[in-house]
């Protein structure tokens, strides 16, 4: 993929073509008579500095001169008409103007063209003013300017660049100087070897003028650690092949394992880290100003331009990043270019829009989180309040069952007492066979277990309790509830009918709270039947499975719900009892609600009231983890 520039005879043809085109352009210009400017340049197209200079010099001069300007541009340096004898080149130039005309100004660009112009000045229109430009003062050497000559010179300071490299990369031990193998490169190697003598403590310098481009790239790819590459110029390599700067810089940048430096302002952006830059724009400005004055008749002698030195340190941000060079190491006042635009710079409207959307979303999320927290708090409060109210109600119910508890406990206790007395008497009378003793002791043990279960059942009902749902057998809850009120049913002489569904009635529920509901309904039923004739006192508890639900009925044969509580029987503080608080049914409904069920009340057609609870059967539980409340 090597893209070579034309050289030798090809270069001659290019130069000639350039001349012809420019003359044709001149012929098309209208009056007044155009000014003729002959430009002699050192290197053919491809040199970044010269290309940039010539392009801008011509444009700027054209704009600043009131009359039209015709340019004749001839490359006289090593890559231009190098293969032609220099006299032939001079003849060509002279023939381009013919006998009748001469240029109004000769502009000589760069060191090699300056050498050429000086050598052939006598034949190159000696009475026409000549301006040397874009040339280092040292290249013009000790020879003084001629009578009709002016100069815009630069003073490169390459040792300063070495100092800057060491400031940025203090560990730099070796600098590979890229100069190309042409006369310009050779000149600078000689010049710089002398100037670099002050770096006796390092770094060391290597030179590329004895390398082809391919070898140079190979070498740059495997430089020892702590190396740097300093690109001065290139032009031609050892094989005489001429390469465009842009291509050489691109290849070096891609291949090199060390940072690349260069100090012409036009190199920035082509892979160099940077440094104190020679402003080619500044040289253009100085040169245009001098050319305008010369074309307007000012004597070259009176034109004095201060030699231009490297200016503002300028760096490529991308290269600083690539080589890990902190910006704190840059010289004061440095300019950093090609900084990656921030998100803000690049997508300002999007960023603003996104930020607003983010803020709105955050606010919404915050609001929702707050709402969720508030809801959870409310739910937690509700659960706690339910637990407190249920505890209070349950204890009230249980206190009404005190007589029942005493009676229930009395049975196993009195059995134990009498068994113990019988055993004692048998032992005293020495008529106790061991089999009988064992039998009696076995009875005492089972009766004490029975007593303990009764105590535990009541204690569970009296203990503070929070809703804890699990798969339970609703029929076990019914039986435990009946056991708690059994004494009252018996003493009030109430017939009890229990009709439980043959289907399993497993629900996800809390046995303690559901037992509380049932005991409450049963006690209400017992109370309701206080004035009912004994023969008609009847409490029925029934379960029926209806699809996914189970229906539980508690039916009494009392007087039924009075009209004044119709529809409000579950409201708080509604009661039919002279000493009732009226919270039992409210709590019952709250508990059923917490189970996702419903509770309703109504009067029977044949007298009495029926409370109906509907609960959802458990979908997941295949078996009951524990039964009952105990």
């Amino acid at each position: 993929m090597e893209e070579k520039k034309p050289s030798g005879a090809n270069g001659f043809r290019v130069a000639a073509l350039t001349v012809l085109l420019l003359l044709i352009a001149a012929g098309s210009k209208a009056e007044p008579v155009a000014r003729q400017v002959l430009v002699l340049q050192s290197i053919d197209r491809g040199n970044l500095v010269l290309d940039y200079f010539t392009t801008n010099f011509r444009v700027d001069l054209d704009q600043q001169i009131e009359r039209p300007v015709n340019f004749v541009q001839v490359t006289v340096g090593p890559s231009g008409l190098v293969a032609a004898p220099e006299d032939a080149i001079v003849d060509f130039i002279r023939s381009a103007y013919g006998e009748l005309r001469k240029p109004d100004l000769i502009v000589v660009l760069g060191g090699p063209a300056s050498v050429f112009a000086r050598r052939h000045r006598a034949r190159l229109f000696p009475d026409v003013p000549l301006l040397f430009t874009l040339v280092d003062q040292r290249y013009l050497g000790g020879a003084p300017l001629g009578e009709n000559e002016g100069a815009v010179v630069v003073l490169n300071d390459f040792p300063r660049t070495i100092d800057e490299i060491r400031q940025l990369l203090p560990r730099t031990k070796q600098v590979l100087m890229v100069t190309g193998s042409g006369p310009l490169g050779r000149f600078w190697r000689r010049e710089l070897e002398s100037q670099f003598r002050r770096f006796q403590q390092g770094p060391t310098f290597a030179w590329s003028d004895d390398l082809s481009l391919r070898d140079l790239l190979r070498r740059c790819a495997s430089l020892p650690p702590d190396s740097a590459i300093f690109f001065l110029t290139f032009g031609t390599d050892l094989s005489g092949t001429s390469y465009a700067d842009e291509r050489v810089l691109g290849d070096l940048h891609a291949a090199a394992n060390a940072p690349l430096f260069g100090v012409q302002s036009v190199y920035i952006g082509h892979g160099v880290v940077g440094g104190s830059m020679m402003s080619i724009d500044g040289v253009v400005r100085d040169s245009v100003e001098a050319a305008v004055r010369l074309l307007n008749g000012t004597s070259p002698k009176s034109i004095t331009v201060t030699p231009r030195r490297p200016g503002t340190p300028t760096f490529d941000w991308r290269e600083l990043q690539r080589w890990g060079i902190a910006e704190t190491r840059l010289p004061a006042g440095s300019v950093v270019r090609y900084r990656r635009p921030s998100l803000w710079d690049e997508h300002k409207p999007t960023v603003i829009g996104s930020a607003i959307a983010l803020v709105v979303q955050s606010a919404l999320i915050g609001g929702l989180l707050y709402q969720r927290r508030a809801r959870r708090q409310a739910e937690s409060d509700s659960r706690r309040n339910l637990a407190l109210a249920a505890d209070a109600s349950r204890r009230q119910t249980m206190s009404a069952l005190t007589a029942s508890i005493a009676h229930e406990l009395g049975q196993p206790l009195s059995s134990m007492i009498h068994n113990a007395q019988a055993l004692e008497a048998m032992i005293d009378a020495n008529r106790a066979p061991s089999e009988t003793i064992k039998e009696i002791l076995g009875d005492i043990r089972s009766q004490s277990v029975q007593a303990a279960q009764i105590i535990e059942r009541h204690r569970t009902m009296l203990r503070s309790h929070q809703l804890q749902k699990r798969p339970i057998d609703l029929h076990a809850v019914v039986r435990d509830s009946l056991a708690l009120v059994a004494h009252d049913l018996r003493t009030r002489e109430i017939e009890t009918v229990v009709d439980l569904s043959p289907n399993p009635c497993v629900i996800d529920g809390d046995p303690v709270l559901l037992e509380q509901v049932l005991v409450n309904l049963m006690m209400n039923a017992i109370d309701a039947m206080a004035d009912t004739p004994k023969a008609r006192r009847r409490l029925a508890v029934m379960t029926t499975v209806r699809g996914a639900d189970v229906e539980l009925l508690v039916r009494d044969s009392g007087p039924g719900l009075p009209p004044h509580v119709d529809g409000t029987v579950f409201a708080p503080f509604v009661t039919t009892k002279p000493h009732g608080l009226g919270i039992g049914l409210t709590i019952a409904r709250t508990i059923v609600d917490a189970h996702g069920g419903t509770i309703d009340a109504g009067n029977n057609a044949d007298g009495g009231a029926t409370f109906t609870i509907v609960l959802r059967r458990s979908k997941t539980a295949s078996h009951v983890t524990a039964s009952g409340a105990a």
């Binding site: 009195s414 009498h418 009696i440």
Partner: protein
């Protein structure tokens, strides 16, 4: 002392069993029932010397049974046997003709002692 013939009326089978064991040494337990009406029939049929009656009996409570028993069989000694150590019940027991009142949870062998005391003069 002649061994008294005793009928026990209580609806708690475990307690009846324990009472029968206790009385076995000094009495003949002629039967046990778990129902207030059944005790009237059994008394008629078995003609016990003493009847131990729980207050909380199904169908006919113990005090009412006591009243009827003492009316029909004045020679029989009825002992009210209850878990309710209540002075009112005690008083009512004697009002309906009971010869004794025993708290079920007294721990010092009250039932046997009461029966022995009631029949001590008949030896």
């Amino acid at each position: 002392m002649k061994r008294p013939r005793v009928l026990v009326a209580d609806d708690h089978a475990d307690l009846v069993k324990a009472v029968c064991r206790l009385l076995a040494a000094d009495c003949d337990v002629v039967g046990s029932v778990a129902d207030g009406r059944a005790v009237l029939e059994a008394a008629q049929r078995l003609e016990p010397d003493a009847i131990v009656v729980d207050v909380n009996l199904p169908n006919l409570n113990g005090l009412e049974a006591c009243r009827q028993l003492t009316q029909r069989h004045p020679q029989m000694k009825v002992i009210v046997f209850t878990a309710m150590n209540d002075p009112d019940i005690r008083q009512r027991s004697f009002e309906v003709g009971a010869s004794g009142f025993v708290f079920k949870m007294a721990g010092d062998g009250d039932l046997l002692a009461t029966i022995k005391r009631l029949f001590a003069g008949e030896s």
